[in-house]
Symmetry: C2
Subunit: 226 residues, 2 copies
DNA sequence: GCGTTGCTTCGGTTACGACCGAAGTATGAA
DNA sequence: TTCATACTTCGGTCGTAACCGAAGCAACGC
């Protein structure tokens, strides 16, 4: 019963709408300036500055000074992961008023989750990879030999990924789909490859837009039923 | 930038110390009455009642009426998981004043994380199982054939576990150790087996106490270096 | 019936913190 | 140097929500 205050300190940080907006805006992994974040949060710059120093003090964000700008980013993928998990909880909360605006639809279709693909496309990707036996495991993902071959051909340097500290495959719960999508180093590499190939591009915010042709290519590779 | 308020609604719930204490008290998976929770949170019963109705409305807790008592419990293991993840974040926050009281020491040694073993013993368990090749995978855990045989002999009905919806193995980040311990259906089954065998017993709250002999048995089985 | 226990609802107080205007600091441009 | 931009700090206002006392219900025992 003593660990309550520990949760509360983080919870209180996430509990303010302005701060939550700031964190959401940073969920795509990019670094933004104080003024950009102020606008995203819908508060004045002074207020945003105050929030940012709190978030920074709590090590949820890291700041980087560049000229007269200060860029803030999430201090790691784990922060993003917890945020997505919280959104999952929020869902069952019923707090999720099903606002089906066009922006929302685009977000549900494909978006960036810190540095990898999420939304319908993200879930399709993982499902497809599983059905084609590139990735095994139900909740705990493992790259198969077939997958190793396939992704190598796809242009991903797996040897490099496997050297890093970051896990290669990671199941990340998708808040809009209530299913898992592929995170980890491999997930990040795939997204970056998709963008390189011109199959999709990053719009403002977290939205990822596929080109008509790109979507076809993507599906022919990853979605068995297509 | 629209998803901010969604996070904020949950965050605000977790952000109040009294509510955080209530949730912490329920982290052991048991159901407690309003008065017990009020005491755990350090507030009066009326206040606790208010908090509980909010937490219930958000589906974080479920209530169950029994006579003139109302029992509250976490509405699922996923809630506990998010809470543990939050504690992990809180750690990097530096909000973790290293209060090394005796109660705290016991908690760090062995405790219940919803329904499985956490703390030093929990981490030992997973490490040992990995070294003995009962469980494979770094971040993503898979039960090996050796493990299947071993845990079967240990008295666990794996076939039943594998039928359920719940993942068998799950890596759960341990907030005190900053390493993973074993959750999922298997984690729960192992803890329950440990208690059955009388190797350990559950104390008040989340603390798990091993008997001298029980600890020996546990270590001889799971801790290679012992 | 009566009293007791466990919990909820109501009302009023209080405190914390989000917010913005204004002033202050630092970096860069002219 | 002077001005402009990007940000931080200060001070004061205002709302929200946590809190408790008191009263109201509901379930059980006698």
């Amino acid at each position: 019963m003593k660990e309550g205050p520990v949760i509360a300190s983080v919870g209180a940080l996430l509990g303010d709408p302005a701060r939550a907006n700031i964190l959401s805006a940073l969920m795509d992994g990019r670094a933004l300036t104080v003024s950009e974040l102020a606008e995203a949060a819908g508060v004045t710059i002074q207020t945003a500055s105050g929030h940012l120093s709190k978030l920074g003090a709590a090590n949820l964000l890291t700041a980087e000074k560049q000229g007269r700008h200060r860029y803030f980013r999430l201090s790691g993928p784990d922060v993003a992961q917890v945020l997505e998990a919280l959104m999952g909880l929020a869902q069952r909360t019923g707090a999720t008023r099903v606002r089906t605006g066009p922006r929302n639809a685009a977000l549900r279709a494909a978006r960036v989750c810190y540095d990898h693909l999420a939304g319908e496309r993200g879930v399709e990707l993982l499902n497809g990879a599983r059905q084609r036996d590139y990735i095994a495991g139900d909740e705990q993902l493992v790259l198969t030999d077939r997958g190793r071959a396939f992704f190598g051909e796809f242009g991903i340097d797996l040897a490099r990924l496997e050297k890093g500290r970051r896990p290669v495959c990671r199941a990340c719960l998708d808040w809009s789909e209530r299913r898992s999508h592929l995170g980890g180093a491999l997930g990040a590499a795939i997204l970056s490859r998709l963008l390189d190939k011109g199959w999709a591009r990053r719009d403002s915010g977290r939205v990822v837009t596929f080109t008509g042709q790109g979507l076809g290519e993507f599906r022919s590779i990853f979605v068995p039923s297509a």
